[in-house]
Amino acid sequence: MFKKILIANRGEIAVRVIRACRELGVLSVAVYSDVDRASLHVRKADEAYHIGKANATESYLNIEKIVDTATRCGAEAIHPGYGFLSENAKFAQACADAGIKFIGPSPASIDLMGSKTRARREMQRAGIPLVPGTSAGVESYEQAQQTARQIGYPVMLKAAAGGGGKGMRLVHSPEELKPALESAQSEAGGAFGDSEVYLEKAIINPRHIEMQILADEHGNVVHLGERECSLQRRHQKVLEEAPSPIVGEEMREKIGDVAVRVATAAGYSNAGTIEFLVDENKNFYFLEMNTRLQVEHPVTELITGLDLVHLQIRIASREKLPFQQEEIRIRGHAIECRIYAEDPDNNFFPSPGKITLLLSPSGPGIRRDSGMYEGWTVPLEYDPLLAKLIGYGTDRQQAVGRLLRALNEYFVGGIKTNISLFRRILSDPDFQAGKLDTGFLDRLLARETPVSADGNSEIAAIAAGIFAVLDSAPNSSQVSTGTLSPSSNGMAPSTWKKAGRTEALR
């Protein structure tokens, strides 16, 4: 086992990995940019080093600086988290060259799966079912036009180096192709430094189902069941759950077998995810493999009882998988909500800023992986993911009920978040019936927001007045958490209450 691990990431995932390190008795090292000195991962780690400017290319994407920091502080391994350098083969190679273990697959596996076009060719050879389309990048608008005509509209444009929906466009008709191609290439170039884009036949409103796999460095590969990730906005996952409402034991075994074959064909080791599109007849097609830990890994952890980050670290230190496929049991149901700093009432515009008040949920079946705290200013330079709220229950219905309850306890003040969106999703009859596809969220959002006519404006008015009185009263506007001042805060029992109790006692 390693003695010290550097985490080349920030936000909730850095905190997640730091916690795993502490649980395993491994020292953790955080790295941070100019704007992240006060971020939670820096506060939680055993050591922390500054690596550069706010712009990610000069800090969290700076391979040389990160490897150098790891060497100087004596870290034996680097965990890349997700995003940033997690799927960068050059980074994995640079770690190996410096004698540092990269906690993830080999550079060759990352390279293969990192190019979606190469992965398609490889998987075609291995006999894996694929969506019809090109297995090479689009060279010109004219060529794209021709290919699109051949496979038939609608088509999907995708960044070859892609992930997270960046550089991805759905094209319904020939007129839309040119602007879509230009913006996809521009976005892909900006996000990945590679503007290669390829074409695929678009399966309209498919389900998006992915398989978690684990592979050790001794040739053992298992799958940990599927996750349903059909709830997306702009091809960005918003809510994920496991197991999928439509996947039974038999289908799980079938997709799981394919996933294991994909991982084996790629010579894969460590944790990985194979994404599939599933059409209405439950046919599934290989979409891509993510060669890293996924944002939504907690739902799999809850239903399998396994800790994926612990296992990633154990695998990287050359341990064998401690179980076989037959020993993996799926129990209960888990759902994850991605809490983003964005405004659902204003077209989901990002909303960085200072968190002035934070009330966090807890209680049965609730897990919260968070990178924020009260008083922290959310920087504008990075992904707006603040935290993940995960509900677990014996069955799907209980998980939904627990999440709705927890969402009502959750309050993030000072910035906008998408918490209200999850109340809408989880209360939706189709969602509750498990009728999901990738068009679900757009349809939900196209419907008018239900007016919250809960008639609490009177209580709001009274509260506004009380706050004003307390603000103007000396020494009462500042109340330190946990201490109550009876004289200034109305702690004395009201006569009405006294009378009421007397009445009740009769």
Binding site: S457, A464, I466, F467, N489, G490
Partner: protein
């Protein structure tokens, strides 16, 4: 204390007094029994005839908001004795419209030229922030009088980026 309180578009007259830690409250002339405790900064627990409420206060550049359960109410509190008065912040759709950046970011594309005709809701330029690209759209149909920024310019929240007339 007497207050004029506006919650969304409803106006309330509120009389509040506190003696010996007990609140006396009249809302629009009707006496209401309440018990209130500030449990932490910006969080108020109110019992109204036995019904429990937790009210959270949020103060941002967009003004004062109160949250009751999962509902958000915009609020304005006026002390009639005070001379401070707020201007009505609503703006009509007539005349030239100033388009401002809603948050800091970088201009990645300018979609239309000065002088071009626009439809309501049509994108004029694209700003990238937090790795997402967002279009700034025209609030009305008209003509683009001026565009203040160019590709790769950095913008701050509230910066004027274009004028549509």
């Amino acid at each position: 204390m007497n207050y004029e309180v506006r919650i969304d578009d409803k106006l309330f007259h509120l009389e509040l007094d506190r003696s010996e830690g007990q609140w006396h409250c009249k809302l629009n002339g009707t006496a209401i029994n309440i018990d209130a405790v500030l449990t932490r900064t910006n969080v108020l627990s109110i019992l109204l005839e036995g019904k429990a409420y937790e009210i959270r206060r949020e103060l941002t550049i967009n003004g004062l908001h109160l949250w009751v359960g999962s509902s958000r109410y915009s609020a304005e509190v006026r002390d009639p004795r005070s001379l401070r008065h707020r201007k009505d912040g609503t703006v009509g759709n007539k005349g030239p419209q100033m388009l401002t950046a809603a948050m800091p970011g970088k201009v990645v594309r300018v979609l239309l030229q000065e002088g071009a005709q626009v439809e309501a809701g049509q994108g004029i330029l694209v700003v990238e922030a937090m790795k997402m690209q967002n279009e700034i759209k025209s609030p009305k149909a008209g003509r683009i009088q001026k565009i203040m920024v160019a590709t790769s310019h950095a913008v701050n929240a509230g910066d004027l980026v274009a004028i549509v007339e």
